[in-house]
């Protein structure tokens, strides 16, 4: 996927003016967040489970050089063919080769961020394979020729009317404003694809090292269908998705659905291991697992390694005030929200995405909800300082920050400036607020009035309020 992360400012502005998107975001992120909070509160062991999951993931990161080979060995023992790709180009090459060698012309795909990362569908097109997205949201987005805007709800920005128009055009279905009817149309259309496709493509939520299993968590059942019906199964998964033991899986299954959508468990958990066994009436004859490095081993070596604990639940997106306002497309690559603001610069290079770590208020809501306790705000701050060190900040920005630091670290100076600002501000605005500041401060007053500076310095008002008079 093309990286457009440094255009965050421009894209965010566009998103803020998009009425449909704003309505959709208001409807979704709030509900996801509320459901997540209810589910977490209703589960007394939530905190202990988070801690446990975080420690398991840390152990995996510390010993990935042991766990990953173990996973590969166990998976191959049970008939899977494991491939390793260093980067996106290599992943596409391998995927295209698999499709050609297996003689596949139609593939049904369930949602996979990893596949999105390497522009998997382009590789399939090149190999003459038609890829049909089977996750309903992804299917809609594919018909519209767009990129997904949310990890777990890719079509949040489409209304039922827009979807019905797409279905009329592409599926020759009559117009309707009934959501169950729209779902039924997609079901009928996609069922035929599942029954005729030569290959099912999936991601993988977890890779179990001690059994070589790939675990898929879905609500629609498309992941299950695509890994049972077609002749070939291809799983595209990042190397960091390994967990040590099957016995660790329940810990993560208790966290992922609760954090993502507030469900106790998703409708379908599929644990698939190797190819169909002798005597099995269903299941693929061939299973390929394509493991992606794509920058992960480099991240593992550095100070941001804990970002690889991520289980892609999207709780941090829903909790983020910036994401809530601008949605996913503004982030300009596969991953959005706080996780995207950290992961994208690390995967595509900071110069390509230096705008993203700034796309945060550092409020900490993301860290509060992260089921594996990734210190997202610390990483965002650290990336900002890396950007400065790498010369990615403008001289004006650096000077402004230096000046700000100089004032904020001297109480007397700050108070003096507040006094002057207060007098001038009250004089010019008559206490009503500032409606237009000159560049480079104009952004602050573009959509709202900036409050007039208080007549008295903060510290003085604080003392008065607490009953201390000078």
């Amino acid at each position: 996927m093309k990286v457009d992360a440094n255009a965050f400012g421009r894209n965010a502005r566009k998103a803020l003016l998009d009425k449909t998107l704003q309505e959709a975001l208001g409807r979704t992120t709030g509900r996801f967040q509320a459901n997540r909070d209810v589910a977490a509160a209703a589960f007394p062991d939530f905190e202990a489970t988070r801690e446990r999951a975080s420690r398991i993931k840390l152990d995996v990161l510390d010993h990935l050089e042991t766990y990953l080979p173990r996973f590969i060995e166990e998976a191959e023992k049970r008939g899977a063919i494991v491939h390793v790709a260093r980067d996106a180009a290599q992943a596409r090459e391998i995927a295209a080769r698999i499709a050609r060698d297996e003689g596949v012309t139609l593939a049904v795909k369930s949602k996979s961020m990893a596949a999105e990362e390497v522009s998997f569908n382009e590789a399939m097109q090149g190999a003459g394979v038609t890829v049909v997205e089977s996750d309903l949201g992804e299917f809609i987005i594919q018909l519209a020729g767009e990129a997904p805007s949310h990890i777990i709800a890719p079509a949040v920005h489409k209304t039922r009317e827009q979807i019905s128009i797409l279905f009329e055009r592409h599926l020759k279905e009559p117009r309707t404003d009934s959501i169950p009817e729209l779902v039924g149309m997609a079901r009928k259309h996609l069922r035929a694809k599942f029954l005729s496709a030569g290959m099912g493509v999936s991601g993988g939520n977890f890779l179990v090292a001690d059994t070589g299993s790939v675990v898929l968590v879905t609500n629609e059942g498309n992941g299950r269908m695509g890994t049972v019906l077609p002749r070939v199964h291809l799983a595209v998964v990042g190397i960091e998705k390994v967990i040590p033991r099957m016995a660790d899986l329940p810990t993560f299954l208790r966290l992922l659905p609760r954090s993502a959508s507030g469900q106790t468990i998703s409708s379908y958990v599929s644990i698939v291991t190797g190819t169909r066994r002798a005597g099995d009436p269903e299941g693929p004859e061939r299973m390929h697992i394509l493991l992606l490095d794509c920058g992960r081993s480099a991240i593992l070596e550095g100070k941001y390694r804990e970002i690889l604990k991520c289980v892609r639940c999207a709780a941090c997106l829903n909790a983020c005030p910036v994401y809530q306002s601008v949605g996913g497309h503004a982030y300009g690559w596969v991953y959005s929200g706080p996780i995207g603001a950290v992961l994208t610069p690390l995967m595509v290079g900071l110069p390509e995405a230096a705008a993203l770590p700034d796309a945060s208020t550092l409020c900490g809501a993301c860290a509060n909800v992260c089921p594996v306790k990734i210190p997202l705000p610390d990483f965002l701050l650290e990336l900002r300082s890396d950007a400065r060190e790498q010369g990615l900040k403008t001289p004006g920005e650096i000077a402004a920050m230096k000046g700000y630091a100089g004032v904020m670290s001297k109480a007397g100076l700050l108070e003096a400036i507040e006094r002057i600002g207060g007098v001038l501000g009250q004089f010019f605005t008559k206490g009503k607020g500032i409606s237009g500041l000159p560049y480079p401060f104009s952004g602050w007053t573009e959509r709202r009035d900036f409050p007039a500076p208080a007549a008295q310095p903060f510290r003085k008002r604080w003392k008065i309020r607490r009953g201390v008079t000078r």
Binding site: A48, R55, N219, T264
Partner: protein, 217 residues
């Protein structure tokens, strides 16, 4: 050096000095509370996941089950060839129809009928309200996969409290497919409105039966 060895080398560098050996399970306990009787808890969690629970004996449940299937427009029933309990329920239901009996192969071949798939559950999980179905011993997965309505036959003896117990049998050499099925197939992808029947069954029914007489003795 091939790509796999080269990756292992990069990982060795990245993991160097991170402690000698891969860890034991973390010591943080997760005492997932088991709330009394697992069967009673399963009845509650299965309903919370959107499933419909009927209690046996079979004869007592047939009329309700027939009515639920008719309400979904079901016209054809299928079950695994070698699943005696599923066969018994499906065959007993025919007079409550109009239902005809069909096969998984026929449904997979693209039959246009609205179908109900019957299958005996290998386990059920009280904690999550899940039905466990696997491909172990050559079992078919079609009834819970491609049917419009899924009817699980759940013996009370197979209900376990937690996911760990359901997975314990498979830690050594798992079958190709282990599935936890929790309620009907759902999607919220259009306007975040919860809608059933995205790909899998639109309705999930569990028929809870006491242990077979032979097991009781």
């Amino acid at each position: 050096m091939n790509e796999r060895e080269s990756l292992f080398r990069r990982l060795s560098t990245a993991c160097a000095g991170r402690g000698a050996s891969a860890g034991e399970p973390p010591t943080v306990a997760t005492p997932i509370a088991t709330e009394g009787d697992p069967v009673a808890q399963f009845a509650q969690t299965f309903a919370a996941a959107g499933g419909f629970l009927l209690r046996g004996p079979v004869e007592a449940a047939l009329s309700d089950l027939g009515e639920m299937l008719r309400a979904e427009g079901v016209t054809a029933l299928f079950f695994p060839e070698d699943d005696a309990a599923a066969r018994e329920v499906a065959e007993a239901l025919v007079p409550f129809g109009p239902f005809i009996l069909t096969t998984g192969a026929e449904v997979r071949g693209g039959s246009a009928a609205v179908t109900a798939g019957f299958r005996t559950a290998e386990a059920a999980i009280a904690e999550t309200g899940s039905i466990v179905e696997t491909s172990a011993c050559g079992n078919t997965l079609l009834p819970g996969l491609i049917a419009d309505v899924h009817v699980s036959i759940v013996r009370t003896a197979v209900v376990v409290a937690r996911m760990e117990e359901a997975l314990a049998a498979f830690t050594a050499d798992p079958p190709r497919n282990i599935s936890f099925l929790s309620g009907p197939s759902k999607t919220g992808d259009i306007e975040q409105t919860l809608t059933v029947g995205a790909h899998g069954p639109k309705k999930a029914i569990a028929l809870l039966l006491p242990p077979k007489r032979a097991e009781q003795e």
